[in-house]
């Protein structure tokens, strides 16, 4: 029983980085841009996020405000990287897959280089402490699983319905969906397709930056070159897994994080199965589920990955 509660109470905070990054990627893809550089933006976000509290406290305790400033700046840097990606793939119409891999390498490499320059070796920081919600966190079991985390966790899950509302119930969401499905129609209605795509990239980048900072400031509380460890790519996969829908993406993030926490816990139990099997498990789950859920996707943005050019007919 205890181990199950343990697994579940880790599942929720461990899913946050994936959740934020894949919601960001969802906005990108809904507008028609495929951003494989999510991983790179996360790396930059992670670096910027930890740099602020580290420079102030030198690895020691700092006021919570510095952590929040770091997280905020990570979102800003992420948004700027999203816009930079927009210059490459929206304005100059570079092939999005390749440009995304470029952004990934650029982000991971730059973050690592800057880290060595400004910080040096691996350093941990105290990071953001948790804020159990009064009363709710006292509920047995449920309180520990859902209400005993830091503020970013609560905000990330609150953002799921907000993201749904933005997509379905605001004019901006309507524009984003139109640009991702049938940009020519959006254009004929006087919508500036490229502008919407830039905006979506900024939003998506900010969320990816936030996701990175969550890892370095809230979850792992340090930075290293391998910190992101492919989560950016998993986030992209989760968008497909979730059929571009916020709630399903959240479920995907939770499922992935669940199988991953199983791995941490089972390793400690000394069960006689090679631990590599459990390390592999979350990725296998993603691949298998993707294979079985990829049919009949009516929500899929039909114009995904195609640059828009008004005067060229396709």
């Amino acid at each position: 029983m205890n181990i199950i509660i343990n697994i579940l109470s880790m599942t929720v905070p461990f899913s946050v980085a994936l959740l934020l990054a894949s919601l960001g990627e969802m906005f990108n893809q809904r507008s028609g841009v495929f951003n494989l550089g999510c991983e790179g933006i996360m790396a930059m976000g992670a670096f910027v996020g930890m740099l602020i509290p580290f420079s102030i406290g030198g690895g020691g305790a700092v006021a919570a405000g510095w952590n929040y400033l770091g997280i905020l700046l990570a979102a800003v840097v992420g948004a700027l990287l999203g816009l930079f990606f927009g210059v490459v793939v929206v304005t100059f119409r570079a092939p999005q897959g390749i440009a995304g891999i470029g952004l990934q390498m650029f982000g991971v490499g730059t973050a690592g280089t800057l880290f060595r320059h400004f910080v040096g070796g691996t350093q941990s920081i105290p990071g953001l402490s948790s804020n159990p919600i009064p009363f709710l966190s006292d509920i047995p079991i449920v309180g520990r699983i859902f209400f005993s985390h830091n503020i970013i966790v609560y905000l990330a899950f609150l953002f799921v319905p907000v993201a749904w509302y933005i997509l379905q119930k605001t004019s901006w969401g309507l524009e984003v969906r139109a640009c991702g499905t049938y940009p020519r129609a959006a254009d004929s209605m006087g919508i500036n397709v490229n502008r919407i795509r830039y905006e979506a990239l900024a939003v998506g980048g900010a969320l990816a930056g936030l996701a990175g900072a969550y890892l370095s400031v809230c979850q792992i509380k340090m930075f290293s070159d391998e910190l992101i460890a492919g989560r950016g790519f998993i986030a992209v996969a989760l968008v497909y897994f979730g059929h571009w829908k916020p709630v399903r993406i959240m479920l995907g993030a939770l499922l992935f994080s669940f199988t991953q926490t199983i791995q941490y816990n089972v390793q400690g139990l000394g069960i006689n199965i090679p631990y590599e099997f459990f390390v592999m498990l979350p990725y296998v789950v993603v691949v298998v589920v993707l294979a079985f859920t990829s049919k009949n996707q009516t929500t899929s943005p039909a114009a995904l990955g195609k640059p828009f050019n008004r005067e060229i007919r396709t």
Partner: protein
């Protein structure tokens, strides 16, 4: 915004695309309450001109005046503000959104901060649809609607956004004959409140609807005048530069052997129901069987099933005595089937491939074009050159990407490929949809030529003239089964129309 558009003038409009003069010094004007027909063959520059009027393209020279004042549109939004609205030939509707959401895309009044007032949009949609008698369901998703319904949505959308001047780009090209008649009636009524420019190459519609006609050829105006002063054939002659008489099948029965025999065939549609529902049909050699029907009654699924592109649940397809049900497309092709598919851009050609490459799609490993799987460049080039000349395909060269051609020329590419492979049988699905008179004439002649050579042809069409002109026998399809088979002489437009609507002979007597 509330001002009426009393007059609209385009003067000396010129637009060049790389290597093409798309609009050559074109002038036209439309007064309040008038319907102007813009007529011309595919590629004559009609759509380009209207895209310039809507601000989608920028003209290189020339000016546009509304109510005597010069206007410059930098994008479609400027044209909306001036009261212009265009219904494009390819509908500008987002398929996975509802009707209301599609209108909301352009209805900025409902764009509140942090909230989209869809209720307000829905009321507007309902108001417009009842005022103009355009029945639409505001909550339906676009992908659920038929082509005719989608067009009504386009009209409603355009009117909701405050259009007082409508531009319709080939509004009837994808409609069934019944839907076309409804649209013409509707536009006649709407003319009381607005002015309309409509692009067409169907001359009976031009005659029925328009007050004035402007004819374009190769980007330039070759004629403009009052519609009532000219007969359809005079307009056709001006449009193509020569007289057009569509060929008719007046030849004697060839009494050929059975080439294709379909018995008790069941095929599912994409949505899972039986689109072909117990269908029986026979086509003989040297015979054209016209399959008449409103589109969506199983024609597409039937054609795909015969060609191995769609699984067959039950039933037999005997092709020269051999059962080809559930065989691969390769097998069907190898047994001599020629196929002109419905979606010429998707199924008929590979748009990004060169014309000459599209010619050999089905024969790329044939001895004729390849040696040990290495392509023979010389043979491919000379084959392309011959086909281009024989089929009068108008293109800069056979190295051009096939997707860059006009619809008529793409269809000629497909026809050329399918016919010159010397098939034993030919299935032609909507072979002339959206094409101009010159191209239709050519394709009809080629089909008749093949018939004379003793080839059986299954012709799927909803153009009754086409069916009646070409067919030896006419099979009417309704809800996936053959409703009735008529001989060449027995069918009239009226009787076919009644059968296509699913009403049997009893109802006809009561009529």
């Amino acid at each position: 915004m509330e001002d009426k558009i009393k007059s609209l003038k385009m003067e000396h409009i010129t637009k060049r695309f790389p290597g093409v003069l798309a609009s050559d010094d074109i002038s036209l004007n439309v007064e309040e309450g008038e319907i102007l027909a813009l007529v011309g063959e595919n590629g004559a520059g009609k759509t380009t001109l209207m895209n310039i009027l809507m601000g989608i393209y920028q003209q290189d020279e020339g000016r546009i005046f509304i109510n005597g004042k010069e206007v410059r549109f930098r994008g479609p939004e400027d044209a909306f503000k001036a009261g212009l609205g265009m219904v494009h030939q390819q509908y500008m509707l987002v398929p996975n959104m509802t009707v209301t959401e599609n209108v909301a895309l352009g209805y900025k009044k409902a764009w509140k901060p942090f909230r989209l007032d869809l209720e307000m949009v829905r009321e507007r949609v309902e108001e417009i649809s009842s005022r103009y008698g355009l029945a639409v369901n505001p909550d339906a998703y676009i992908w659920q609607l038929s082509v005719g319904e989608q067009q009504r949505v386009e009209l409603v959308k355009t009117l909701c956004l405050g259009a007082k001047f409508l531009i319709l780009d080939e509004p009837t090209s994808a409609l069934t004959p019944q839907e076309t008649d409804e649209l013409i009636d509707l536009l006649k009524k709407m003319k009381r409140e607005l002015s309309i420019i409509f692009i067409s190459h169907k001359l009976n519609e031009v005659k029925a609807l328009s007050d004035k006609v402007v004819i374009l050829r190769h980007g330039a105006v070759v004629f403009s005048g009052n519609t009532s002063d000219y007969s359809p054939s005079e307009i056709a002659a001006l449009m193509t530069g020569h007289e057009i008489v569509l060929p008719e099948n007046r030849e004697p029965d060839m009494h050929g052997d059975v080439a294709l025999a379909i018995s008790d065939l069941y095929v599912r549609s994409d949505r899972g129901f039986f689109a072909v529902n117990g269908l029986n049909l026979e086509v003989r050699e040297g015979e054209i069987v016209g399959l008449a029907g409103v589109s969506g009654n199983g024609q597409k699924e039937l054609a795909e099933a015969i060609n191995g592109l769609r699984p067959i649940e039950k039933g037999k397809i005997e092709f020269f005595g051999e059962d080809i049900a559930n065989k691969t497309p390769y097998y069907v092709i190898e047994h001599g089937m020629g196929y002109i598919p419905e979606e010429r851009n998707i199924e008929g050609i590979v748009p990004s491939f060169q014309i000459k490459e599209n010619f050999i799609l089905k024969d790329s490993d044939d001895e004729k074009f390849a040696r040990h799987r290495f392509l023979k460049k010389k043979e491919i080039n000379s084959n392309a050159e011959i086909l281009r000349q024989n089929f009068d395909i108008r293109c800069p060269g056979t190295n051009t990407a096939a997707g860059a051609l006009s619809g008529g020329n793409i269809q000629k590419v497909i026809l050329a490929r399918e016919i010159t492979r010397a098939p034993k049988f030919l299935i032609a699905v909507y072979p002339t949809r959206g094409l101009d008179m010159g191209a239709i004439e050519f394709i009809h002649q080629e089909l008749l030529k093949k018939r004379r050579e003793g080839i059986g042809i299954l012709l799927v069409s909803e153009e009754l003239d086409e069916i009646m002109n070409l067919s030896d026998r006419i099979a009417v399809i309704y809800k996936g089964a053959i409703q009735s088979i008529l001989h060449h002489g027995e069918a009239t437009k009226k009787s076919l129309g009644i059968l296509m609507a699913g009403l049997g002979n009893e109802e006809e007597k009561n009529d």
